[in-house]
């Protein structure tokens, strides 16, 4: 499991990429990725291209990010999710909270 983050050139977009298992072990790193920042981004992207697995605590972490980013006003995209990961997100109906592709 590894969490990396990238800011866009104008520092308005923050992309957090997760590789390996996205579960409770990623908790601190994932939080640090959006809490320990010098600029407050307006948009967030969670890139799951290299995420192999996602459990319910990962769903909880996504909710924490959403809360941090402004709750109902948050703009968060979840991209590159595999079909297995999409299934998990679909069962929980997270498409009602996140822009999932």
């Amino acid at each position: 499991m590894a969490v990396t983050r990238t800011f866009s050139a104008d520092e308005k977009d923050l992309t957090i990429a997760i590789s390996g298992r996205f579960d409770f072990a990623a908790h601190q790193e994932f939080r640090d990725a959006y809490e320990r920042v010098e600029h407050t981004p307006t948009r967030y992207t969670v890139d799951l291209k290299n995420a192999t697995y996602l459990d319910s605590s990962a769903l909880g972490m996504l909710l924490l990010l959403r809360d941090h980013a402004g709750g109902d006003h948050a703009r968060i995209a979840i991209i590159n999710s595999s079909s297995d990961v999409q299934k998990i997100l679909a069962i929980s109906n997270f498409n009602k909270l996140f822009d999932i592709s």
């Binding site: 319910s56 605590s57 769903l59 909880g60 972490m61 909710l63 109902d72 069962i91 929980s92 109906n93």
Partner: protein, 572 residues
Amino acid sequence: MNMSTEVAQGPLTVLIADDNMTDRMLLSSIVRRQGHSVITAGDGLEAVRVFAEQRPQLVLLDAMMPVMDGFAAAREIKRLAGEALVPIIFLTSLSEEQALVRCLEAGGDDFLAKPYNQVILAAKIKAMDRLRRLQATVLEQRDQIARHHGYLLNEQRVAKAVFDQVAHSGCLDSPNIRYLQSPYALFNGDLLLAAFTPAGDMHVLLGDFTGHGLPAAVGAMPLAEVFYGMTAKGYGLQETLREMNAKLKRILPVDMFCCATLLSLSFQRGIVEVWSGGMPEGYLLRGDSGERVPLVSRHLPLGVLSPARFEDRTDVWPLAVGDRVLLLTDGVIEATNADEELFGVERLLAALGERNAQGEVFDSVLSALSAFRGEYRDDFSMAELAMVQPDYLKPPALIYSDSGQSSPLDWSSSFEFRAETLKRFNPLPFLMHMLQEIHGLRPQSGALYSVLAELYSNALEHGVLGLDSELKRDARGFAQYYEQRNTRLTQLDEGYVRLHLHVRREGEGGRLVIRVEDSGRGFDARKALATPARERGLSGRGIHLIRQLSQNASWADDGRSAQVEFAWEQQG
């Protein structure tokens, strides 16, 4: 770290056993000069006795002694020391390998050749003391872990006992329910509850909190409290769901939520109402056709959305006797075997195809799981519910705490519920609460509740919302009907349901007259009552139920006004 005095560094008490008095005194003075206190013995037997009495922390032992030699003494001292490490350094002028090996085999930790080298002796005592303290720390921590583990198990046992009382205060033991939950499912975050409504419907909740252990268990109590409280008062699924969601949203941290399926089985009306958020598909299994209807999660889990954004829309399906509903947590599908394969939906569906003589799939799923894994870990929950005849189950009688001396027996009351209220408010629990003050009515409260519920939903659905009962003739129309109901209710901006209650004394007993009026177009009650059940399909059950359960049921004003009566012979 908090260490016992045993572990603390400092001067040691050292036992020196040597039959040669000169050697003994020489060694004693060396060791004393290094800051330790010394006790002495002249032979092996005395060494063992002194050790037992004074428990020195380190032993210097001459190998060759009269009465009992050093080897035998070492074994005895090690035995007395038990788990604690009491280092033994053999003092020996022996030099052949075999003799030195014997020293270690007897339990010695090191040896020191005569004549003594003070620097080496000091270094060895220090090194042995380090080992001794390490061993003591390890033992201390092991005991601490064991103690904490004991506490934890006890706390879990108590929490489970309390929780079992709560969980089993419902009706999980009803003959139409089969379920499996691991003894510590609570600590996996799983929750299975069932309870009867006053009308005899059965509400069932299968929930799965995020995470494991105590954090996953804390939400269970408040959820159970809302579930039982509101079910017993006669609230419907939607009000109960809104309340559960609001409560969890309020008390749980942002990253915690509860995936849940909540359903209501109505044995009298032959329907099941389902809400599912974040749970894997459950299944409605048709008894006659073998058809399998997936119960899909349409919502976010409980505790995620604010009360204002929460979606309480339910799906409604017709149910016939012999139909079954299977609910499960993701532990079933995510069960893995030794090769790290998932059990998966395919295997589950294959198992659902194999029903036993009673039409049950419960055992089939369990044996598929155990064939898949060898033996299944019990970190999942599963429940199978059967649709049965209404009189097959005996909901427990309600218990009332008041004496009945102040039963009100001569009053009338009227209510008008208008569009804005009809959208979200369920007046039935409130009305029932009031009617239960009449003790004579209490033995009939199940029938009273059912009739009141039917009258109200007829007035709302066929009257105010103008829904056509004919739609419910077949399963597809049935689904359409409830979709239209949702849509029209959301858009409702005018209309009313009026309820008139009239209570009067009659001899020793009394009589309640209920009249319900609505703002709708009315319907042909006579025709509806005359249609035989075979032609009605799934429609028109309501007014037959009303006729069966109440007295003098009649319709007036082209069906816009319905009236029923309940009489009782004497005070309850």
